[in-house]
């Protein structure tokens, strides 16, 4: 059996390892689109703030890890696929034969379509190559404009601020973290950032990037209210797009990502997909969604590989969840935090101490949660949601005081 995995992020690497565990003899080829050993994008902020060196971002630390497992790790960029012939064509012309192909090519940052966006010194924060450029340009005292205060924007803020630059954040939505925080949480985050000397502009669009004579390499970021922000470095975090172009003509069904069934199989039988590139089953809605997070990439990689091995593994769906540290303020969100029709909710807000907890219930179980300033036992929110634990009389107690959630879990599962 010849397994080929295109994409060497967490989804691809976990899939390769799972394949090897299940089939000691199969031929396994892992193709990475970037020159480095397989690494983790989510470790990039810690590289930028000087916490780790580049090696610290590598998914596996042993230099011989892939060799030792008999996983052939090669560099290349997929150009096209012919499923019927079982052939993957790489840029440059090489053909890689496969019996089963896993697409784990992830996504890439999108660029706002405005004039001047291709000027030098404007970068996404997505790859190690991006990180090197950002490190070069974000010197102490320099002006940095971050476009986008979503999940990725908020995570990299700390790294950008810690490099000593003056940071301004421009967000199109009316609040920070519009897709993982409600208005209460978003306002709390904003106040926190502003106290850390970060300028936060919401409800503002970037309309262009011009040259600025203030300094060599300086730019003027033009906003829709006419204001111009001087910037030595512009970092873009306005969203991502799946890397699926090479699948054109392959017959693989694509929506926001590659649509896969609960065995991570695409509409073409010998092609599977996992991670940020896959639109897989969503635990909360029962529908299909792209959940571009690390835990989902890892789950997807494992389930896809089991099915590629011919073992039938059905995925119960990923729960969307995030935890992030925004210049020191820790926030998390799980599942249907906006609640559901006919559901109930409870919230505790402590503005002075920057603490917030909101729980959402459907009938007798938890379906979503938001937290700010919570670092103890956070995972239990995932557990309670995903096991649909019947809360019994603990629901009443949680409606009165959401902070008793860990007690509720221990009481409902251990006593």
């Amino acid at each position: 059996m010849q397994h080929v995995i295109v994409g060497a992020g967490p989804a691809g690497v976990v899939a390769a390892e799972t394949l090897r565990k299940g089939d000691p003899k199969a031929k396994i080829t892992l193709i990475g689109g970037e020159p480095e050993p397989p690494y983790s994008r989510m470790a990039i902020p810690y590289l930028l703030d000087g916490n780790i060196a580049e090696e610290g971002t590598y998914l596996r630390k042993g230099a011989k890890h892939y060799d030792a497992l008999g996983i052939q790790y090669v560099h290349g960029r997929a150009e096209s696929v012919a499923p019927a012939e079982g052939k993957l064509k790489l840029e440059g012309g090489d053909q890689v034969p496969f019996d089963r192909l896993l697409v784990a090519t992830g996504a890439r940052p999108i660029q706002p379509r405005v004039p001047g966006i291709d000027r030098p010194g404007i970068h996404g924060c997505w790859t190690l190559a991006d990180a090197r450029e950002i490190a070069k340009l974000s010197k102490s005292g320099s002006n940095i404009v971050l476009v986008g205060a979503g999940f990725i924007g908020c995570i990299i803020m700390e790294a950008l601020a810690s490099r000593g630059g003056n940071l301004t954040v421009v967000e199109m939505e009316d609040r920070m973290l519009a897709r993982m925080m409600d208005a209460t949480g978003g306002a709390m985050m904003r106040r926190w950032c502003e106290n850390k000397k970060i300028r936060v502009l919401t409800g503002r669009k970037v309309v262009g990037v011009e040259a600025d004579a203030k300094g060599p390499g300086d730019k003027a970021v033009a906003l829709d209210n006419g204001e111009k922000l001087n910037a030595h470095l512009v970092v873009l975090a306005v969203g991502v797009r799946s890397n699926v172009e090479f699948l054109k003509g392959s017959g693989v069904k694509i929506d926001h990502g590659i649509v896969v069934n609960d065995q991570m199989q695409s509409s073409v039988a010998n092609i599977y997909a996992a991670g940020d590139v896959a639109e897989g089953p969503d635990f909360s809605t029962g529908g299909h969604m792209v959940h571009a997070i690390q835990p989902t990439a890892v789950d997807h990689g494992r389930i896809a590989a089991l099915n590629m091995l011919g073992k039938t593994a059905h995925y119960k769906g990923s729960l969307i969840m995030n935890v992030l540290d925004t210049v020191g303020l820790i926030s998390s969100s799980f599942g249907k935090w906006e609640g559901t029709k006919g559901g109930e909710s409870s919230a505790a807000v402590d503005n002075d101490r920057y603490r917030y907890l909101r729980l959402e219930f459907d009938g007798d179980h938890l379906i979503g949660a938001l937290g700010i300033g919570m670092t103890e036992h956070v995972g239990v929110l995932r557990g309670l949601i995903q096991t649909k634990t019947a809360l019994g009389d603990w629901k009443r107690k949680l409606l009165a005081d959401p902070h008793r959630v860990m007690e509720a879990y221990v009481a409902r599962s251990q006593v």
Binding site: P10, P295, T375
Partner: protein
């Protein structure tokens, strides 16, 4: 034979010796807030429940870690955090459905029970044998295993 922590809530008096021993062993302070084992008290039903990581096979924390900072100790089976490799991203803290991995803001790393390398201080400190360290197949961790199975986002493969 690997051993695990066996917890018998019926014997717990809520004295918190385990929390003190744990925080001292791991963080050099007598501070229950820094303990990796926690005692939950349910006064209305007169019950105390010590609670910590079961070193589960699913090891969501270990699988979710983006930088291989959590590994299995071959001797004890414990899932152990390497402070040198942990970048403090906290993804394991939301991945663990038991809520037993916590972020420690003072070190910038996560912390969880590592069975003290095979000689758990909590068990030694417990005066009533509510916490013991025994052969793994005696521990009766069934309740947690059930919970683990329910959380498993991917059904285990059938051959």
């Amino acid at each position: 034979m690997q051993k695990s922590l066996h917890i018998d809530p019926g014997k717990c008096t809520g004295c918190l010796q385990c929390e003190l021993a744990c925080s001292f062993e791991n963080e050099n302070v007598f501070n229950p807030a820094k303990s990796r084992i926690k005692v939950f008290r349910f006064h209305d039903i007169g019950r105390m429940v010590p609670y910590t990581c079961t070193q589960c096979d699913e090891a969501w924390c270990m699988k979710a870690c983006p930088v291989e900072a959590i590994t299995t100790d071959a001797a004890t089976g414990a899932k152990v955090v390497s402070d040198a490799l942990c970048v403090g991203c906290k993804v394991c803290t939301i991945a663990c459905p038991f809520g037993t991995v916590n972020y420690n803001a003072s070190t910038g790393k996560v912390m969880k029970c590592d069975l003290c390398g095979g000689d758990p201080e909590c068990a030694k400190a417990c005066p009533t044998q509510a916490i013991t360290y025994v052969d793994a197949n005696w521990t009766g961790l069934d309740r947690m295993r059930d919970w683990a199975a329910k959380t498993d986002s991917g059904a285990r493969a059938s051959a």
